[in-house]
Symmetry: C2
Subunit: 478 residues, 2 copies
């Protein structure tokens, strides 16, 4: 294997860039083209230096650069290995499931790659999370609970966390108590559990159109019939909804009333109230996915539909994935008491309980006031980027590209005019190093292929500007 690597590498000793940069670039190239796959052990420094007839210091410098940029990692006393790097643009359909490949939302993205402008990822840039705080939280928890932090948890969730969540929500106007809190391993699990607990084969679910594809997949897997309802700028289209309620008797309606994914639309107060009235009249449950709760840019936090829920028919989901660390796999449900035991049973069948360590980390953040600090901090950071992206869109985009200004979140939903096709724009943008998400997977039945979602979650201001300018150029009227 070591022999192979040196065979692949070509260095020009009289070339214009320093040898260590050449070596660095050669290895990056091999990693990107999968000649070296993740986990591959790089040859020891001295061996590689000898085989390439270069100074060991050159190899050390190259390896250091590789490590700094996340291409490799080093294990003390063992050696250097190729790290796992998944770039969405290159991994489609390979390591990601069929349905997942279509999801613009949740793919792992590679923020370290400077040559690509990733306007697809809607996950926070992990570099903005304070690792010191997280590390201290873990240390304190292990000191306090020792191995007990890793024992089986109650299927409903770690009680102190359920209490802190109830206390936290009370401050935000959602009056609940720990008995209504169900801890889950991410919002996707929450949607899946609700679907499995409520829906029988053939049952009808109403959804917004467009909506989150992971929800569509979960409802489909239960054999549910999915009926989509239009959206207006004010939220769900009440006329369309009332018409469809004459035709169908939905058991459940899945909505994102604040900063909807993908459109960014927020329901007006009036629409929220009217929706709750219809839900009551037609006796349907509402699944409210507050998917980006906490990341708003106005003065006041958007008000959850759950606060309008006078007769306990809203199941409220809130996740940490979009505003903290997706890899924690943590979210929670506020569950109507009539459904509580049913959901608990399905949660048990699904995975018994959510990780005790993860639950303790969030509990620690809530109790120490770190959670609110974290949200304030990301709001400040992303507000700047949000304002900037809005300015850039206004300045550069052709006037017939339409979008609404969302009240928060990390992305903007662009609607293209008849003269343009989204897949064409996406392909050409990719050729120019700009990755954007197709709107198509968000549509329930058929897409118009006129929508593109652009995100600024992992971009610098300079990248936002370049990205928008490249897109604007491609969208120009010629």
């Amino acid at each position: 294997m070591d022999k192979n690597l040196t065979d692949f590498i070509v260095l020009h000793k009289t070339g214009k860039s320093p040898l260590y940069v050449q070596l660095y670039e050669e290895i990056v190239d091999k990693i990107k083209h999968k000649t070296l796959s993740p986990g591959y052990k790089l040859p020891p420094v001295r061996l590689l230096a000898r085989e390439l007839a270069i100074n060991p210091g050159t190899v050390v410098s190259a390896y250091r650069e590789l490590e700094k940029n996340g291409y490799i990692f080093t294990r003390r006393g063992s050696g250097s290995y190729v790290a796992e790097r998944i770039v969405p643009a290159e991994s489609e359909g390979q390591e990601v499931p069929d349905i997942a490949a279509e999801l613009a939302d949740d793919v792992q993205t590679d923020c370290g790659q400077d040559d690509v402008i990733n306007m697809s990822s809607v996950s926070l840039n992990p570099d903005i999370i304070s690792l010191e705080v997280l590390q201290k939280a873990i240390d304190d928890i292990l000191k306090r609970d020792r191995g007990y932090a890793f024992t089986y948890q109650d299927s409903r969730g770690y009680m102190p966390l359920r209490q802190s969540i109830a206390a936290y929500l009370a401050q935000k106007g959602i009056m609940t108590d720990e008995r209504s809190v169900q801890i889950i391993s991410g919002a996707q699990q929450g949607i899946d559990i609700v679907a499995r607990a409520l829906l029988k084969h053939g049952d009808v679910v109403f959804v917004e159109n467009p909506t989150y594809p992971g929800a569509i997949a979960a409802f489909r897997s239960c054999g549910a019939k999915i009926v989509d309802v239009k959206l207006t700028k004010e939220g769900i289209d009440l006329i369309d909804l009332e018409n469809k309620l004459k035709l169908f008797k939905p058991r459940l309606m899945y909505v994102m009333p604040n900063i909807q994914n993908p459109t960014g639309i927020s329901y007006s107060k009036c629409v929220k109230r009217r929706l709750m009235g219809l839900a009551r009249y037609h006796d349907m449950y509402i699944l409210e996915d507050d998917y980006i709760g906490g990341l708003y840019y106005g003065k006041n936090a958007p008000v959850p539909l759950k606060t309008y829920d006078t007769d306990d028919r809203v199941i409220y989901i809130r996740t940490l994935s979009k505003v903290f660390l997706p890899g924690l796999r943590l979210a929670y449900l506020i569950v109507p008491s009539a459904l509580s035991q049913k959901l608990l049973n399905v949660k048990y069948i699904a995975d018994i309980a959510t990780s005790g360590l993860t639950q303790r980390i969030f509990d620690y953040y809530l109790r120490e006031g770190l959670w609110q600090k974290h949200l304030n901090s990301i709001r400040n950071i992303y507000k700047i980027q949000f304002d900037f992206v809005m300015k850039m869109l206004k300045k550069y985009l052709p006037k017939d590209i339409s979008y609404i200004k969302p009240a928060g979140g990390l992305s903007i939903w662009l609607s293209l005019p008849e003269r343009l096709r989204a897949d064409d724009i996406i392909r050409r943008a990719k050729e120019k190093g700009v990755i954007v998400s197709s709107g198509a997977p968000f549509f329930v039945h058929q897409a118009l292929h006129r929508q593109v979602r652009i995100s600024f979650a992992v971009l610098s201001l300079a990248q936002i500007k370049t990205g928008v300018k490249i897109l604007a150029e491609l969208m120009k009227n010629r």
Copy 2:
């Protein structure tokens, strides 16, 4: 209220245990007897110290111990509160789901309670896990991968971990590669995912009888028809199996061929081979749950059925919950290539991906050789307890109580004679402070109420002796 607490508490300043221990025990006693109920706010340190005329440091120490053992929790700036504690013996049907309440297996247990001999828990005693090693693993991972350890993972799993698992299994005789490894959030999720991917409403699944109740629940939730097959001391009853294969066409058979849960039976080589032959002939998939793999007491590790799998029809599950830390929620599947994409899709719907931190911890253990060390260490510890429990059973139990000596694991399955009823023994044992598991929930359709499972996972040798003697006394012929 504060006044009340001090009225209840009696400390002996000249007593033989330190004051803080006495205070600790007094408060624990009040919590156990519900004099102090969950959510009760304990008096501030200085106030309590003054009222009891003791040093504030003593109160701090007692509160710290209470917190460490989960009796109370502290909110910064607010005070200390009595936590809700779920002891399986007392909480049946309250905080645990319907189906979960019946599961002897996976309830959260309270190992700190010295007056109860818990012969029900089959989770490792968390105190035997080296926290220093675990802490260092987490530190090193955070240093290496920073926030990226918490980004979305590939739904199939973190690639380096999949590679380390493949390498580890190759040493154990299971030849596979990383493409066949599917990371899951615990064995229960694995069973559930396999059930959802393979079973349609009305499909037939074969299971051993008795078997793991969580599997029964998962199969039932898919609407599958569950057919149970008898067990003999040599493993699955081949005659019963062949007869039932004449009547049914199962899509899947769920088995634990080594150290079966709950019976402890291991299949003979001959039965393993014959089972694979029948699976091939009748074209059914086998789901092998190697639920306690690694914890054996003989010279050689039991050989998985998967090693007999010549035509890729065994789905192999291995979990860390039973031999490491259940709260990590980590397990893996080795998946036949024909099923790989299907399972991946269901995994995605279920929870997108398993926690990246957890996956990295296990990867670290495997790569650094810590995993094998850990298994060797727990084998050594539990071998002593296992030998001791076997000796005690032989010495004290009436001769008409039958059991087989398992090849490993943490429990023994006792079969009672006609003259005894299991529920009666269990109730009377509980009155004497010994908690054992009923065999009834492990039976698929109807139980004989003659089986009891006793475990030594969290007991000292002295507790084992006392527990067995109490049980033996209750089982005596009178």
